[in-house]
Symmetry: C2
Subunit: 446 residues, 2 copies
C-alpha cells in the first residue's frame, strides 16, 4: 500500500517557436511545454504526468500543481476507489473550485495530479493504462464518473446499462488493438508556416505511410487556404480524407462563409471554427455547413464535461476531440467518452504538442474497447514532434498507433529531457538564443 510522500513539479519547455512547427491561425509562436508532475511514494513505484501548454504561463500551471501538494501527500493509492476519491476531493475542494469552477489553470493542474495517480495505479498493476481501463467492469467504469450536472443527459443507471451492452466483445477488441493498433491521422503536412512544396511532399508521405486522413491549418488568408487545400487534395487523391482546422479564428458568419468557399475540395471536417465556449455558435455553423457534407469538430479546448454534454445534446458537433490535459483528468475524460457513446458521437482525440500523443492514445483505445465498440470514423491525431523525450514514444505502423505495452499512462519523460529543457535554467534555454519568450525569461531571472 504505497503512500504518497511528495509531489514534485518541473517547468519544461521546448523552443518550438524557433522553427514554426505548430504554427496556426491563432497560435503563431508556440513553445510546446509541459508542467510536469511526479507523485513520489514510499513504495516501488511513482506516478508521473504532465499538463501541456504552449509556453508563457507554464509557470502558472506549475504554481497550481504546487498548491495541490498538501492535498496528496499522505494519501495511499492502492486501488480504483483511491483514485476516484482523489479526483472528487480535488475537483470538489470548496475553496479551489472558486478559481473555475472546473475550468482553466486550476482544473488542468488537478487533471495533472489525477493523471499521475492513474499512472501510479497502472504501474502497480503492471499494465499500460489503456489495458487497465479496458479491463474495468462496467460497474467500475461508472464509479469513475462524476455525474453531477450530467443526469439530464445520462444517469448512473443508464450508464451501467449502456456499458454492460457495450462490454460484449471486449476481449476480441483488446486483441484487435494488439494486432492492428488504433487508426491515426496526421497534421504533419498542414502547418501554416510550411511552404507549398513542403505541404505537397509531406502529404504524399502521409499517404505512403498509410494514413487515412490528413489535416491542414486554415484561417489566415482565404486565397492561401484555397491554394493549399487544392494542393493537398491533389497530392492525396480522392480516397484520403482531408480535414481543416481554424483554431477558433472565426465568428459564426465568417466560419460559414469561409468554409463554403473551401467546400469544392471536400474537407471532411472543420475543426474549432469559433470559440470553444460557443455551443450555440457551433450548432449554427453545423446547420450552415451540413448541406456541403462538412462535419463540425471541436473539443481540444472544451473545458469540462458540462460543455461537452451541451455540445453533444445541442447537435453542435459531428466529431468530439478530447485532449489529454485540458480537463480534470482521466475520470472526466471517461465521463466524456460515456457522453459520446450516449449521443453516438465519434471521438477523434486531439494530439500533438508534447506528450499528448503518448497520453491520449490510452483514452482512444479504451473508447474503442469499452465505450464506442468500433473504430469506424475514429482517428487519433498524430504529429511527429518530440516523441523522443518519452520513456515509451508512440509507435506508428501502417497509419495506426501501436498499442503501448509498458506499464503506466504514457506521460513519463526521460530525466535528461526534463533537465535540459527546464525553464529558464536548462541548457536549451540558458544558451541565450533569441525566441518569443525572451522577455519572460528575463523576468524570471529577476
Amino acid at each position: 500500500m504505497p503512500t504518497i510522500i511528495d509531489l514534485t513539479s518541473a517547468d519544461v519547455r521546448f523552443p518550438t517557436s524557433r522553427h514554426l512547427d505548430g504554427s496556426d491561425a491563432m497560435n503563431t509562436d508556440p513553445d510546446y511545454s509541459a508542467a510536469y508532475v511526479t507523485l513520489e511514494t514510499d513504495g516501488e513505484h511513482h506516478g508521473a504526468s504532465l499538463v501541456f501548454t504552449i509556453g508563457r504561463g507554464n509557470d502558472v500551471v506549475v504554481a497550481a500543481l504546487e498548491a495541490l501538494r498538501t492535498h496528496v501527500v499522505g494519501r495511499r493509492i492502492e486501488d480504483l476507489d483511491d483514485v476516484n476519491e482523489l479526483s472528487r476531493t480535488l475537483i470538489g475542494d470548496s475553496q479551489l473550485r472558486w478559481l473555475g469552477p472546473e475550468k482553466g489553470v486550476m482544473h488542468m493542474a488537478i487533471g495533472g495530479v489525477v493523471d499521475a495517480a492513474w499512472d501510479l495505479l497502472a504501474r502497480q498493476a503492471g499494465k499500460p493504462l489503456w489495458l487497465l481501463l479496458a479491463e474495468l467492469t462496467p460497474e467500475e467504469l461508472v464509479s469513475t464518473v462524476d455525474f453531477r450536472y450530467l443526469t439530464d443527459a445520462i444517469t448512473p443507471e443508464q450508464a451501467l446499462t449502456l456499458l454492460t451492452e457495450r462490454a460484449e466483445g471486449k476481449a476480441e477488441r483488446i486483441e484487435h488493438l494488439r494486432a492492428h493498433g488504433f487508426p491515426a491521422y496526421t497534421t504533419t503536412p498542414g502547418w501554416l508556416g510550411y511552404s507549398d512544396e513542403k505541404l505537397v511532399r509531406l502529404s504524399h508521405e502521409a499517404v505512403e505511410q498509410g494514413f487515412g486522413m490528413i489535416k491542414l491549418k486554415v484561417g489566415n488568408d482565404l486565397d492561401d487556404d484555397v491554394r493549399r487545400l487544392r494542393l493537398a487534395r491533389g497530392a492525396v487523391g480522392p480516397g484520403v480524407r482531408v480535414s481543416v482546422d481554424a483554431n477558433q479564428r472565426w465568428d459564426v458568419a465568417d466560419a460559414i462563409e469561409w468554409m463554403t468557399a473551401l467546400a469544392p475540395f471536400s474537407p471532411y471536417w472543420i475543426e474549432e471554427p469559433t470559440s470553444p465556449d460557443d455551443v450555440l455558435g457551433h450548432a449554427a455553423i453545423r446547420a450552415g455547413l451540413g448541406h456541403h457534407g462538412i462535419r463540425v469538430a471541436t473539443g481540444e479546448h472544451c473545458q469540462n464535461r458540462v460543455v461537452a454534454k451541451q455540445l453533444m445534446a445541442a447537435g453542435a458537433v459531428d466529431v468530439f476531440q478530447i485532449d489529454a490535459t485540458r480537463m480534470g483528468g482521466i475520470n472526466e475524460l471517461l465521463a466524456v467518452l460515456l457522453l459520446a457513446a450516449r449521443y453516438g458521437i465519434p471521438v477523434c482525440p486531439h494530439a500533438g504538442g508534447v506528450g499528448l500523443c503518448e497520453m491520449v492514445q490510452h483514452l482512444a483505445m479504451v473508447d474503442f474497447v469499452a465505450f464506442a465498440g468500433t473504430t469506424e470514423d475514429r482517428y487519433l491525431e498524430y504529429v511527429d514532434h518530440l516523441h523522443e523525450h518519452f520513456t515509451e514514444p508512440v509507435r506508428i505502423a501502417d497509419g495506426a498507433y501501436v498499442a503501448p505495452t509498458r506499464p503506466g499512462g504514457g506521460a513519463e519523460m526521460l530525466p535528461a529531457s526534463i533537465s535540459d529543457h527546464t525553464y529558464p535554467h536548462g541548457i536549451v534555454w540558458a544558451e541565450g538564443t533569441t525566441d518569443s519568450s525572451t522577455d519572460l525569461r528575463e523576468n524570471e531571472h529577476r
Copy 2:
C-alpha cells in the same frame, strides 16, 4: 504621460471561515481573499485592483499576476486607447490564451491587471470610475469592446446605434445617481450558517434599512429551506422581494423539483441553480419554473462574454449577475452590459466577498447611465463585511449604494489591511489560530 515601472502583487486573505460568514451550499468554509495588484508608475498616480477568491488558490492567482509583469512594465497609460490596447494584448497573447482560452485563473488575473489600468486612468482623470465610464461617448464605449465571437449577437455598428439612442438623458441619470444612488439588496440575513433567530432579526433590519429585496442561501436541506423561507417571508412581508441562491448545487431536474417546493413563498429569483457553464440546463430550468413566476438568475461565475451571449440569446436567464473580478476586466464587463442591453436582460451584479461591492458598483452605475437607462428591476447585491479595509468603503443610504466620489475604481485597500492580512506571514495568520487553511499554510512555510 506616466509609464508603468513595476507590477506588485500581494496574497491577502481574511479568516472569514472562523465565523461561517459567507457559508452556502457549495462554499462551506470561505476565507475571503484578494490577489491584490498594483501598477506603479513614474508619475503622480498608481493603479490598484484585485481578484477575489475564497482562500486556497489565491497564491495561484498571484502567480498569474506575476506572469503578467513583463507585459505591462514600460507601457504608458495616457488615455482610453492605451487601456483598450492593454486589454487586447493580454487577452490575445498567443501563448497565454492556451491556459483558457479566456477563462479561469489566467483570465481573472488579466482582469485584475486591466482593472488596475482603468483605476490608474480614473485617478489621472480625477474621477470615480463610474463617472469616467458614464461620460464616454457611444463611440468610445464601443471602442472598449472586443467583438470577437459576439457579432452573431451584435455588431459594432448595431452597438453604436443602440448606445447612441440610450445616450439621451445621460446627464439627468448622472444627477439622479448623485442624488439617490443605486438600489441595493442584501444577502446579510441569508447565510446557511445563521440561526433562525438571526435570520429573522436580520430580515427585519433589512426592511428597516430600506432594502427592497433580501436573498437567502438554499440547497442543503429542503425542509430547512422551506422553514427559513417561510420565516423570511413572514419577517419582510409581501411587499419586499425574497430571492434564493443555490450556488450551483443542483442538476436540472433537482432544481425544478426543489424550487417548485419553494414556490408557495414567491421567491423572486433562483440564483445559480446549476453549473454556471450549463446554458442549456439553465434554459430547461427556466422553462420548468416560469409558470411559477420564478426568475432564473446567474452570472457571478460566468467565465466570459461568449457564455454571457449564449445565456441571453438562448433565453436561459431572466437576470444577469456580473461579478467584478471573474472575467477579463472592465472591458469585458462593458461587453456584457452591451449584450444585456441588446437582449433587454436586467443586470443585477453579484457582490460581497471582499472588495466586490466597492468595485462592481461602478459597473452598475454606468449600466444605468449608458446601457440600460433605467434602474427598474435592477438591484446591486450588498453584504456588510470587510468594507473597512478600503480607502473608500461603500456607503448605503435608504437601501441604495451612494455614488462614489473619490477618483479610481474602488479596489484600493488600506496599507495596514494588506500587511496585516498578507498570507501566511501577516499578523492575522501568524497568530496560529486553527482554520480551514492550516494545512496549506504549513505547506507554504516549507
